[in-house]
């Protein structure tokens, strides 16, 4: 259990990080994704198709080339959907900013904060 003092400071810092431009942009892209009917439809169909194929393969191992092609078409559609792509890009950019933040903390403390806090694997 975290000491209440450091928990409060951590929350305050987390809120500032949440408000940083790359992270804020990610949340905006996420909100746009959730509000976009076409993108939601695509993602739902993609997920359903992927799960159905996985199940089929596990049960009797019979996936047709047609089914694979249909899945790939759906994936390409998702990849060219601007709202989905904007979300993916925003997430990547936000995620790419975080190591710099972690390093800033590590440098001041003199130990690898990210390393100590990480789950132990890249």
């Amino acid at each position: 259990m975290l000491d209440t003092a450091i928990e409060a400071v951590a929350r305050e810092f987390a809120m500032k990080l949440r408000a940083s431009s790359p992270v804020a942009a990610f949340w905006q892209a996420q909100a746009r994704l959730e509000a976009d009917e076409e993108a939601q439809r695509l993602l739902a169909e993609l997920q359903q198709r992927q799960q159905a194929l996985m199940l089929k393969q596990r049960n009797d191992g019979s996936i047709t080339q047609e089914e694979i092609d249909a899945l790939r078409r759906l994936q390409r559609e998702a990849q060219s959907n601007p709202v989905i792509m904007a979300y993916v890009q925003a997430q990547q950019q936000a995620q790419a900013f975080l190591p710099a933040v972690s390093m800033e903390i590590s440098q001041l403390l003199g130990f690898d904060f990210g390393g100590l806090a990480g789950a132990g694997g890249c």
Partner: protein, 132 residues
């Protein structure tokens, strides 16, 4: 109707976020867990017995690494290393340091988890240099 979004923090620049990170690091440095780790590290570094045991272990480790490159590492060498590691960990100053480091790691993990929750991204997955 009062909405949470109306009092959300105004957007800040990356530079301001990094400054906030430095301030947060300063707060972490004030925690008991960090202070205990810092002290234990100093004691470990100043303890002659712990340092001797550490050096013996590190030298053996380097020897084996060399041998491994040429396919020469053997069971006896590995057993020596294990023995030296045990001897190192048996040093009270070293043991205290490792325990303090583990406590610090626990706090860092919890803090990172909290941050991840608030920002909606995996903060602890950010691997810097020296990861893995």
């Amino acid at each position: 109707m009062w909405q949470a979004s109306s009092v959300a923090t105004a957007e800040i620049s990356e530079a301001e976020a990094l400054q906030a990170a430095r301030e947060f690091a300063a707060a972490l440095a004030d925690t008991p867990a960090y202070q205990a780790f810092d002290q234990a590290q100093i004691r470990m570094r100043r303890d002659p017995a712990a340092q001797t045991a550490l050096r013996a272990f590190q030298e053996k480790q380097q020897d084996l690494a060399w041998q491994l490159q040429f396919g020469l590492a053997n069971a006896a060498g590995r057993e020596d290393l294990r023995r030296l590691q045990q001897a190192m960990l048996a040093q009270p100053a070293m043991r205290d340091y490792m325990e303090a480091q583990e406590q610090l790691a626990v706090m860092c993990r919890e803090v990172a988890g909290l941050i991840s929750e608030v920002i909606g991204l995996n903060f602890a997955a950010s691997c810097g240099p020296g990861c893995c």
